[in-house]
């Protein structure tokens, strides 16, 4: 058994369950912040809202026993699995972290993740709005570009962020690359080239690679949860 948190109301394990939890949470007015951490146990391609699955992707995913999920938030696809640590924070629409501009709204979440990663001895920093690097030819992949307040080290992305604004509440999602992702699997399912997989590997920096030691998402989950709760407490 991997060292890490026991199943509680603050942790989940499956990308499909995550979207169900989010839909339930946003089905009624949100009056207090909700946080849940997702050390994913099984591979799943998670498409961004507005992203259309390419022809044949569903069949390829099924053949490879990988779930195919569409999330509430925007952005490109990620490959969830044991290499990725997800977080979902749902706030009331009037919460001070929900700013009018969507870029500024990402700031607190990016800073919280950078602070957390710095605590792990990583030289992490947020991508400022003026430093955003978008690769429109690879917009299908979250980790191909560096967007507002996402987190990187040495110019390589570690954390992807996304957001969904609903009448009942605002969802902030993050995905932390803990250990090397199986990029060829994501590309195979989405019908993308091996060159794209290589580009994703070059543009990203898993925490384990930067630290030079093995890490598990489950083991990191409690400290990320604590960091997010601390950030929310400071805003209260």
């Amino acid at each position: 058994m991997t060292a890490g948190p026991s199943p509680t109301a603050e942790y989940g394990w499956d990308a499909g369950d995550e979207q169900g939890w989010i839909a339930t949470a946003l089905s009624a007015p949100v009056t207090t912040p909700l946080v849940r951490i997702w050390p994913y146990q099984h591979p799943a391609v998670v498409l961004g809202r507005g992203q259309r699955a390419p022809a044949g992707a569903a069949q390829r995913a099924a053949d490879l026993r990988v779930a195919l999920v569409v999330r509430q938030t925007g952005g490109g696809a990620v490959l969830a699995g044991p290499w990725l640590l997800g977080a979902a924070v749902i706030l009331p629409p009037q919460h001070p972290f929900v700013r009018p501009g969507i870029s500024e709204s990402f700031r607190w979440l990016g800073n919280a993740h950078a602070e957390w990663l710095q605590g792990l001895e990583l030289r992490a920093r947020c991508v400022l709005p003026a430093e955003v690097r978008l690769d429109r030819s690879m917009a299908w992949a979250c980790f191909a570009s560096a967007s507002h307040w996402e987190v990187e080290a040495n110019g390589r992305k570690i954390v992807g962020l996304s957001q969904a604004r609903k009448r009942n509440g605002v969802l902030f999602s993050s995905a932390v690359l803990v250990s090397p992702c199986v990029w060829p699997l994501l590309c195979e399912i989405l019908g993308e080239s091996s060159e794209s997989a290589a580009a994703l590997a070059q543009r990203t920096a898993p925490c384990a690679e930067l630290l030079g030691r093995a890490l598990s998402a489950a083991a990191l989950a409690p400290s990320l949860l604590e960091t997010l709760h601390a950030a929310l407490a400071r805003a209260a």
Partner: protein, 82 residues
């Protein structure tokens, strides 16, 4: 006639030239809507946003169909207020 536009405030600090995507329309042309009703979902900079009717009325024309992109300030639809 009233233009339905994604609020300028959400575009703050979004780099010039960036466009948003209409993910889906939840109403059709000619349909009655009420103020605050969610009529479309759009995506801008990794963020999904709900577009709401600004008043009671009838949607006259959808100007940006689903799966098409639009720049800041572009009217997504027009409506006639009740």
């Amino acid at each position: 006639m009233t233009d339905i536009v994604l609020a300028d405030s959400v575009w703050q600090e979004v780099e010039s030239g960036t466009e948003a995507l209409v993910d889906e329309w939840l109403i059709r042309e000619g349909e009655c809507v009420t103020a605050g009703q969610v009529i479309a979902k759009v995506v801008l900079v990794k963020t999904t946003l709900e577009v709401t009717a600004p008043a009671d009325g009838i949607i006259e024309r959808i100007l940006v169909p689903a799966e098409q992109t639009f720049p800041k300030g572009r009217a997504l639809a027009t409506m006639r207020q009740a």
